[in-house]
């Protein structure tokens, strides 16, 4: 490796786009591509077409190699970017068409069809690539870069083309947000209202093709799908609205593209595609962990709080029932838990035993009452034997909302049951 240590100044120059015309063009182009991939990937993800996009990108390889072979055979330069992109688009779309054909004419499921097309097309591409490399024309060696991506090999013009395609594709997607949304959410309804779903789907596929072929040079065939999937998947953790999802996804995509191309510019041996994907992957990981409401941490906190509440409820209920003559058989809770409840002011310690404070008593009574209500409901409405109701009661008594409780009371009073005249239950509790 001849990666020289990079000075802080160089880093700053690159990141602030003062690192030379070519570098700048590549960084801006890749950023725009990342934004576009984030926008269009949102719809691909919601339409559940992520894997189709993967098959598509792998299926571009025979097109690249084929276009090169044909062009050189006809005496043109095989390195012309638009030409290679055209070849890539043709076989990419062909690959998607093959998936549809297989699904239509066989009983194979989508995953199998995608896996099949992806590998076969890629295989064909590798064979063609070996033909390119064996040919006398030495210019073909660079085609290898399309597999893993190599921003360093990009020219000013390549980058401009990539950025321009990104802008156009994003604009089309935003103008068609409404159509994409209804097709992604409810295809049958869209069709019933007369929207031409096939046309909308084709436009969506066309945009994915545009992103894929324009990102070939920078990101490469294998990793381009990550630019389409990861940003929207990460963005989904942060929002519940489609247009915000698209914006956040575009931001994450753009950020990944910018960081990837910059790092790659500083260390030319580092493939930009991999760096872009790693940056996006890191954003995803962080999102999954810390996002409010949808993130893992927020989710476990919610569970923990619920479990704590249930444990506290049990203690208060137990104490309440003991006050009303239930036998004190088993311990009421762990010392830590008891101290926690004492901190809340629901119980106090005296004579090495805990007793309910007035506030705690109200709580305990409420829970006890919920318990009886639900138990009575199960016995009288659901025909469950009284000896069998305990488990579901223990689960439900904590989650009953005020609304449900008044409904329960109404249902029970219809049968002439009110909680105050409930017969003594197994726990011997009678409300004060």
């Amino acid at each position: 490796m001849n990666d020289l240590p990079v000075s802080f100044n160089e880093i700053l120059e690159t990141l602030t786009l003062r690192g030379g015309v070519n570098t700048n063009a590549v960084i801006i182009g890749t950023t725009l591509l990342g934004i576009a991939a984030g926008v269009i990937g949102s719809f691909a993800l919601l339409r559940k077409r992520s894997l189709t996009a993967d098959a598509l990108s792998h299926a571009t390889l025979p097109g690249i190699a084929g276009a090169f072979l044909i062009a050189t055979a006809l005496g043109y330069s095989g390195r012309s970017m638009p030409l290679l992109m055209l070849g890539a688009a043709i076989t990419g779309v062909l690959g998607v068409a093959c998936i549809h054909l297989i699904l239509h004419h066989s009983r194979l499921k989508e995953d199998a069809a995608i896996g099949l097309v992806l590998s076969v097309f890629f295989g064909i591409g590798i064979v063609l690539l070996s033909l390119v490399q064996n040919s006398k024309n030495g210019g073909g060696a660079g085609l290898n870069h399309y597999i893993y991506g190599q921003t360093a090999a990009m020219t000013h013009k390549d980058a401009q083309l990539m950025g321009a395609i990104g802008v156009v594709a994003s604009l089309i997607a935003i103008v068609m947000l409404k159509e994409f949304m209804v097709v992604c959410f409810n295809e049958t309804f869209a069709r019933a209202t007369g929207l031409r779903v096939w046309l909308i789907d084709s436009i969506m596929l066309g945009l994915v093709v545009l992103i894929t072929v324009s990102g070939l040079q920078a990101v490469g065939i294998i990793l381009i799908v990550a630019m389409l999937i990861i940003p929207p998947a990460a963005a989904r953790f942060w929002t519940d609205r489609l247009w915000r999802l698209v914006l956040i996804s575009a931001f994450i995509g753009g950020l990944s593209g910018y960081a990837g191309a910059s790092i790659s510019a500083l260390m030319p041996r580092k493939p930009a595609g991999a760096v872009i994907v790693l940056v996006a992957g890191a954003v995803f990981l962080v999102s999954m962990l810390i996002a409010p409401t949808r993130g893992i941490i927020a989710d476990s906190m919610r569970r923990l709080r619920l479990r704590a509440r249930i444990a506290i409820d049990h203690v208060l209920e137990e104490l309440y029932e003991r006050e009303h003559g239930a036998t004190a058989g088993h311990p009421i809770g762990s010392p830590v838990l008891l101290r926690l409840i004492a901190l809340r002011g629901w119980i106090t310690k005296s004579d090495r035993a805990y007793t309910l404070t007035p506030a705690g008593r109200t709580q305990g009574q409420r829970i006890h009452r919920n318990h009886l209500l639900w138990e009575q409901y199960l016995v009288s409405y659901a025909d469950i034997a009284p000896t069998h109701v305990d488990w579901s009661v223990d689960q439900v008594e904590h989650v009953l909302t005020d609304e449900l409780i008044s409904e329960l009371e109404a249902a029970l009073s219809k049968r002439g049951i009110t909680v105050d005249q409930l017969p003594g239950t197994r726990k011997n509790g009678t409300p004060a």
Partner: protein, 265 residues
């Protein structure tokens, strides 16, 4: 009309003329082809034979006057949209391609939400709604279509009492406005209470007409007392022949019958 799924007929020679300004229930056992009938009418699945006409027009011509409430389970409710966004989808046809949803369309959508008692939930993300509320959102979306004829696929399935009341209220309003609503329904007990007309379906029409005439014990028994054995067996045979499994007997069983009458409104 006759409809087949991968060449296996599921509806045979259904011939029906829906009365206008009424509430029609389609009832029948599981697998009777109730949803299939609706989807075929809406052009969502191809018919093997037959025609569907709306006020003498084809579905394509009459589309603007037809509203649709699909089954609630048919979509992913974790989709990142609000209740209002979903109801606005009912206006997309009127709005047109690539045009933004304007304020007047949003107002119309809010009005539809209000009619199903969901105006307070407009900004909610749809996964935060209960099953019954989600069903009402779908109903509101159909109302936003401002149609003359509505197809509803199991709108009462698994809903709470409040939703059931809201839906039935809307149905009666629609009838009072001179509209026709065709509803796939699963609860036999409420048919006489909610509907004017009924179609008993089990791969073919067992009986149809005003509820007091067609909704008889005898017809119900016929519809629910098992399928017509020959009809079911013939379907299986057609399917097998299509797959090339069994040759001789299936081939003589005809391709699906092609007798079809226009369905006029």
């Amino acid at each position: 009309m006759t409809v087949s799924y991968s060449r296996k007929p599921v509806l045979w020679d259904v011939d029906y003329d829906a009365p206008s300004e009424s509430l029609v229930a389609i009832v029948g056992p599981n697998g009777a082809g109730k949803s299939t009938l609706i989807k075929a009418c809406l052009g969502l699945i191809p018919m093997a034979a037959g025609t569907v006409e709306f006020w003498g027009q084809s579905y394509k011509q009459a589309r603007a006057r037809i509203g649709y409430v699909p089954q609630r389970e048919s979509v992913d409710w974790d989709f990142p949209v609000s209740a209002l966004d979903v109801v606005c989808m009912g206006r997309y046809r009127k709005i047109g391609w690539c045009r933004p949803v304007t304020k007047s369309h949003k107002l119309a959508a809010m009005e539809a939400l209000d009619r199903v008692g969901m105006a307070d939930y407009a900004k909610r993300q749809i996964s935060q709604l209960s099953g019954g509320q989600q069903q009402r959102i779908f109903l509101a979306r159909a109302l936003a279509q401002e149609a003359d004829l509505y197809f509803m696929d199991e709108p009462f399935a698994g809903v709470d009492a409040a939703t059931e009341r809201a839906i039935i209220g809307v149905l009666q309003e629609l009838r009072a406005d001179g509209k026709t609503v065709i509803v796939v329904h699963h609860d036999l007990q409420t048919v006489p209470q909610y509907f004017d007309h009924v179609m008993l379906l089990n791969m073919r029409i067992v009986a149809s007409g005003p509820v007091h005439e067609a909704f008889t014990n005898e017809h119900l028994h016929k519809a629910y007392g098992g399928r017509l054995t020959l009809l079911a067996e013939a379907s299986e045979a057609v399917a097998r022949a299509a797959k090339g499994g069994i040759k001789a007997p299936a081939k003589t069983k005809t391709k699906t019958k092609t007798k079809a009458k226009p369905k006029a409104k």
